[in-house]
Amino acid sequence: MRGNFLRHWAPGVLRTQAFRIVLIYVFVFAISATVLVGFTYWNTERSLDAQTDQIIEAEITGLNEQYQRLGLRGLADVVVSRSIHGGQGLYMLADSAGRPLAGNLDEWPQSVTRANEFVEFEYARRVQGEQVMLRARGMAFVLVGGFELLVARDVDERNMTKRLFTTTLPWSVGLMLLFGLIGGALMSRRVLARLESINRTSAEIVAGNFSRRVPLTDAHDEFDTLAENLNRMFERIERLMKGMREVADSVAHDLRTPLNRLRNRLEEAQRRLDPQSPHAADIEAAIAETDGLIATFNALLLIAEADSGAARGAMAQIDLSAVILDVAELYAPLAEEKNIALSVMPTGVLTIEGNRSLISQALANLIDNAIKYTPAEGRIAIFAVETPSGIDLTVADSGPGIDTADRTRVVERFVRLEASRNSPGTGLGLSLVAAVARLHRARLTLDDNNPGLKATISFPRTPQRSSKKGANSE
């Protein structure tokens, strides 16, 4: 359960926009923080060095003056006295051979070879009985008479800061990234949870459960504003759908009643009439017209019903290949009468979630059309194949087909092509097929069968839901 949750959850969070934004932000922040701290360090070091250098230069100038005033002896005294009280100051007075005369350094540092330029060197010092190497920065100066004077200051503390800085910085950046990522993940999960609830609600509404609403939280944040707006929209959709259904229902009722009376009266007239009367044929024709009207009316209502999504309640797991065999069997004799070879490609069980009655009727309409328009000795093939995206149900005939330009038009209500004006039919057959397809989130496509028409309903793959029932089921 937990592993499953993580596996499900982790890629979800990684894919969220919030997490990506946090990630980018954390990186930009880490880089700029590093640059900023680095620059501050560099700047501080530079000014500290400059300060050190100034002090050293001033001291050299001062000592040089002492030397000129008091001579070597006097200079040596000053150097000795400064060496004792000097704190950070390091001094060495040496003769031209480099032998120490006075100062607080044990020996002339090896790295100091040239005069009048700042150098850094290491020097030994006893700290609590132990010999340690420390860093210093200083300048050598050659006095008149060949004596050399080295004035330096200890900078070990500064170097320690530097070492501390270089070891701490990567850790700080690493921790910053880590906390940033954790924070980002938590934040994204929150965002994701809110979005998920909106998504779930929308999906349920699309599935036909119009009464669903996005739950609000106490946060009163922008998600709640979004949810409120969506809820208002959903309310509107629900009201519209309800209104549409009410209109359809009352139209259905209010038209059925007079149609019923009309047919009743015609039938009554027919019963009373002498079958030999010249009016008998008229009344029979009137009844036939009425029946055509009723058929059109029923087909329109059925399309409205399919489009309203109300029929989703009657959806079940059905075997498409069984539906095909049944409908094909119903129409087989009709095809045979016209000498049309009607073939069904056998397939295994192809399960889809659907309304058996409506799919059967849609398929019946397609086969009926195919038989109607395919000339004698023609062929009709019915088959269902599994595709990467779902299941395709195809009825292909060898009839005249439909011009590319007319293909989208024939699916519209009441559109009948010139060629078929005089054959019986309501002109709603393909519209119903398209509406049934829409109800099943499937698509109706009309293609060239070279020659003939190839009508395909592409059903999407059924999500494997074991216990989920349709939203509108009683």
Binding site: N264, R265, N298, D368
Partner: protein, 224 residues
Amino acid sequence: MRILVVEDDLEAQRYLVNGLKEAGHVVDDAADGDTGLTLALSRPYDCAIIDRMLPKMDGLNIVAEMREHGNNMPILFLSALSEVDDRVKGLKAGGDDYLTKPYAFVELLARIDALMRRRSPAAVKTKLSVGDLELDLLTRIATRASQTIDLQPREFRLLEYLMRHAGQVVTRTMLLESVWEYHFDPQTNVIDVHISRLRAKIDKGFSAALLHTVRGAGYMIRAR
């Protein structure tokens, strides 16, 4: 036969009652749900025709109430509601058949005849026969004048339905509903083609035809 009609549209009611009387039935009528239920529970009818949407009490409730009182008279729903769901609801509530308005009177007549016939003692039969045509429901073999007739499974079911209603008009819609279990209008005369194939198998070569076409209504199988 005694038939109860519960219908609030008086014009439709008058027509229905007249038609049924002309067909030789004794008819009582009610224009609202309450009266309908009272009549249904107090008198013995062979069949009731009930509208779905009625004042005072909905047709579904009448039937549910009747069934609760142990009344099992055959009931046909007559309704302006045509959705797939409505039909299922009607049958679930205890209706035996469902017919959508507008309907053809012959269709209604054929259906209530079938309903009333179903009610009469239906001993479990293993053999059906009409004239010299016999259908063995156990071995699934059809014979006429001792000659075996080769039938496809669906043809067998079609013949079985016709023979169970021998002497009665059976409409195309009834056949489509009971034999194929489809509740839609197939537009073309598919049923006629199936019937003519069946006819070729059972009547061809025999002097007396058993399967008859009833003009403007449907089909009937009968001897003589």
